[in-house]
Amino acid sequence: MNRFYQKFALAAVLAAPPLHAQIAYRETFPEHRNPAQYIRIAAAGEKWEILKDDDGARFMRVTMLPLENRPRALVVWDLAPLQFNRLSVRVRVNGSGAAPVFLSLSASDRFGSSYTFKPFGKADGAPRKPLPAGGAWATYSARTPDDLASIFERGKEVSPYVHGRGEAVTTWENVDFKNIGFKTLHFQIDVLKNSVLMGKPFSVDFKLLELANDRPAPPAAPLPH
């Protein structure tokens, strides 16, 4: 048999995932998927487009135009319901000057529960920080349950924090964080009420969304429900 060994030399394009995490979903906006099937924008989001970065990696640019009656843009990722407990995404703001632009995230599962994560740059007890200005990529990362701010099950809050006060009032012991079928991710981009960006278009780029689980993966045995 005439055999040969096929090898493609390659430059490393992306850092390998941490050894202790198993990536379940990586968004690179590949050509074989139509982003219109799984990306939605709303409110101050005017349009999205897929572009290539200097390193050839594809990213999504969301052009937004904040107005007083719609100061926030919403970027929604629709997922086939998926379990993860780690999330990271790279974000870049363009054309905002020094005006602060903020990023926050919530997610929902297919049974109607919603999960609000701590916003970008938020440390316990401290005010949130804006995304870096000047066109630099920043990484937003979060994990469950550590970085969750609140959980609503069918409209009823079940989180240990009263939203906005950071005060523990209950526990999440009834939430099975190893078994959440996340269906949508809602990234929210907003500016301050009196921002100079009101009425001025600027853009926010998203790149390399990764959803992962700690190793070991959740056990194969059926879950006790």
Binding site: L10, Q37, K183, A217
Partner: protein, 751 residues
């Protein structure tokens, strides 16, 4: 135990030796597995299943909800008791243990396993480079797989079939000689009608964290997909123990080659693929993701695609068109179950669904009183099974035939049909602001005298008359037929708008006509033959942008801006004074910037694909087959871009601009135009009427595996045929004139 040909094994998986020993002649049995998701149903993320019959084959399913029941039909090739087992794989990467299949059964099969398809060439691609891979007679690959330096580097193995072929199975085999690289853990299957693409996803064949099949073959069902090329696309190679990344396959085979359902001497072979793959995707929804593992239920973004039908009455006549010609099988059984179970009130009013008289608990759709008898007539006349008509409603005990007759009587007596015009009763249906709307297009306040409802009534009279005549009730048939000219006359008197040169949507209880340039009303009116030649020409001139209607917001080429169908309306909803739309308690905002502003909502400047079915029929009837072919070519051009997998969102994040995927199984009517448009096949009282209308560029057209009156037929219309010739169940007849295939298999000229 051995299952002599032809047999099918239903439910579990058989067991057996290796694939290399698969003699085609012995593969006539099929194993069907039904699996209740058991405790895996507690998983909230999606899963796919892998069936293992123990015969050396693994069969993976598409993804779906873990709590749903999944099933499989597997060609069973080996002797012995089937001992199938299954495992589930979650999208995040967990894998269940193997578990025995609960229910398995063997059924008779009608066809042997498809033969192996020759492969012209194979090649591997990564990083913009391509390299040939040699293949052996049994699909063995002469390579050592792909090695890549970085994770998440996409790569592919591409097979060029040398021509467009129907593919039933793609069979992958690992390479025991190269266990380092291993079978790809993440892969998806793509197809193309050219080796250079564009590549379309086989959405049902997209696997993450696929377990190592070791010595087993992985059989991926493609269900007759027409393709010139297929590729295994690996978005993420395996991490290798010694460093680096890669994957390999020891062999790859394709089974298939059956004649496609729709055949014609198209100028380009891509057209053949387009017609058949449109049918595969939107007709039988074969290679789609069904989140409940049931093609009668919708699937949410981002996995939404084609589906077979919806069990509510609004879809039953369309479902009958789509499914009745497919013969015995689960689709027919399910359709009949829905028809039998759809309630009809004692006075004859047809309910919207088994659990609701009103559509979405919002308003009565009296058009269902025409849809129901139409569905019953079409289905019976195609199948000629008296038992269907005698099937009893599980609740009321009434037969389907009795319910259909009551439904028609309700049209005639309660809704005023004998006058030639159905008039919808009640404040909710009076067509004025504040009413509720009365049909499928429930954003608009169609009501009182509704063009949509009356067009369906006109069609129901035709089809139900055929049914009554077939049952020997010639007097009743004549009575129904005699009413049709009156309905046509009243339709034109009520709805024709001389000023705009098109039909209005409805006349409200105050006598006001509502004309927003409803393309779906006008295409349907033409398809049903409700216009005269002059009016039809004016309608088509408007649709084609040859004339602009004063006050319209969409004119010229913009009417067909989306390519696959005309915009639903050419005049914005907000032009109404006041607007005659149902905002569903404010959920819809039709003003500029709103979520239902013009062009951002399927019923207000957006488009629904099924309208093209009526558009094609109307054009064929009034402007000829070539005009219809021109429109279909435009649809085909759109299909070639992305197979119409389009569900974009509007500025409010709502994906309601196009009605193609998800809860739009009526999309499958468009390729069905090949059957009842190009070949002109329509059931009638005396048999199957065949009145072909071939476009100039197509010398002949064939539909295969068409079930009529308990027999499966292949029917060809050919321009060079002088007279009809029947050879068993194969018929070849002239492309002009009208012909009749009787239930006992005789064919003759038909008036």
């Amino acid at each position: 135990m051995k299952f002599p040909f032809p047999q099918i094994l239903a439910c579990g998986l058989a067991c057996m030796p290796g694939p290399a020993a698969l003699p085609a002649a012995e593969t006539a049995a099929t194993l069907r597995i039904a699996h209740v998701a058991a405790r895996e149903g507690m998983r909230k993320e999606m899963v796919y299943y892998i069936w293992d019959g123990g015969d050396g084959r693994w069969l993976p399913t598409a993804i779906g909800f873990a709590e749903a029941v999944a099933s499989a039909a597997i060609p069973w090739i080996l002797e012995g008791e089937p001992k199938p087992r299954w495992r589930a794989v979650g999208l995040s990467g967990w894998t269940s243990d193997w578990k025995p299949c609960g229910r398995t059964r063997v059924e008779p099969s009608t066809a042997p396993l498809a033969p192996q398809l020759p492969v012209k060439s194979a090649s591997a691609q990564a990083l913009g480079k391509s390299k040939e891979v040699k293949t052996g007679a049994k699909g063995e690959l002469s390579w050592n797989g792909l090695r890549l330096a970085a994770d998440f580097t996409p790569s592919s193995l591409t097979l060029d079939l040398g021509g467009v072929r129907g593919v039933d199975w793609l069979i992958l085999r690992g390479d025991p000689r190269n266990q380092e690289a291993g079978f790809p853990q993440h892969f998806l299957i793509q197809s193309a009608v050219s080796p250079d693409g564009p590549w379309y996803p086989v959405v049902s064949a997209n696997y993450a964290f696929f377990p190592d099949p070791e010595a087993n073959e992985v059989w991926i069902p493609l269900r007759g997909l027409l393709a010139r090329a297929l590729r295994v696309h690996v978005p993420r190679p395996n991490a290798l123990a010694g460093g680096g990344f890669g994957w390999t396959l020891g062999g790859i085979r394709l089974l298939g080659g059956a004649a496609p359902a729709f055949q014609a001497d198209f100028p380009a072979p891509e057209s053949l693929a387009a017609w058949n793959n449109l049918w595969l995707n939107f007709g039988i929804a074969g290679n789609e993701i069904h989140q409940r593992f049931d093609p009668w239920w919708e699937t949410d973004r981002p996995s939404d695609g084609g589906m077979v039908c919806i069990g509510s009455c609004e879809w039953l006549a369309w479902g009958a068109k789509k499914l009745s010609w497919l013969g015995d099988g689960p689709f027919t059984k399910q359709l009949e179950k829905y028809i039998a179970g759809n309630p009809v009130d004692p006075d004859g009013m047809v309910w919207a669904a088994p659990n609701s008289a009103e559509h979405l608990d919002h308003s009565v759709h009296h058009v269902n009183n025409s849809i129901y008898p139409t569905a019953v007539a079409h289905h019976f006349l195609m199948r000629r099974d008296p038992a269907f008509l005698e099937t009893k409603d599980p609740e009321s005990g009434e037969t389907i035939l009795a319910k259909a007759r009551k439904a028609m009587d309700y049209n005639l007596e309660k809704l005023g049909g004998k006058s030639g015009m159905l008039t919808l009763p009640g404040r909710d249906l009076d067509g004025t602001p504040g009413s509720h709307g009365s049909n499928y297009w429930d954003f608009w306040l169609f009501g009182y005298k509704c063009a949509h409802t009356n067009a369906f009534f006109h069609e129901a009279l035709r089809q139900f008359a055929e049914l009554e005549e077939a049952l020997g009730n010639t007097g009743r048939a004549a009575e129904l037929r005699a009413l049709r000219p009156k309905v046509k006359e009243e339709f034109n008197r009520a709805f024709w708008n001389e000023q705009t040169g098109r039909y209005a949507g409805w006349i409200d209880a105050n006598g006001k006509a509502h004309d927003f340039g409803f393309t779906f009303v006008n295409t349907q009116a033409l398809a049903f033959g409700l216009a005269d030649e002059t009016r039809a020409a004016r309608v088509l001139d408007w649709l084609d942008g040859k004339r602009a209607v004063a006050g319209d917001d969409s004119t010229g080429a913009d009417i067909y801006a989306f390519g696959f169908a005309p915009r639903a309306n050419t005049r914005e909803a907000r032009r109404g004074n006041p607007p005659v739309v149902n905002t569903w308690d404010g959920a819809f905002d039709i003003e500029p910037g709103g979520n239902a502003a013009y062009g951002l909502q399927i019923q207000n400047g957006g488009a629904i694909f099924y309208v093209s079915y009526y558009d094609l029929h109307g054009r064929m009837r009034y402007a000829g087959a070539d005009d219809a072919a021109k429109r279909f070519s435009a649809i085909e051009a759109e299909f070639r871009k992305d197979q119409l997998r389009r569900d974009p969102a509007n500025n409010k994040g709502v994906s309601d601009i196009f009605g193609i995927l998800r809860e739009f199984p009526e999309s499958g009517l468009v390729p069905y135009f090949f059957v009842d448009g190009i070949l002109g096949i329509e059931p009638a009282a005396a048999g199957l009427r065949i009145a072909p209308a071939l476009p100039e560029a197509i010398p002949s057209a064939t539909v295969t595996r068409l079930a009529f009156a308990g027999k499966t037929w292949s029917i060809t219309a050919a321009r060079d045929a002088k007279r009809p010739v029947a050879d068993g169940a194969t018929i070849r007849l002239p492309a002009t004139g009208a012909w009749l295939l009787t239930p006992d298999g005789k064919i003759a000229a038909h008036e």
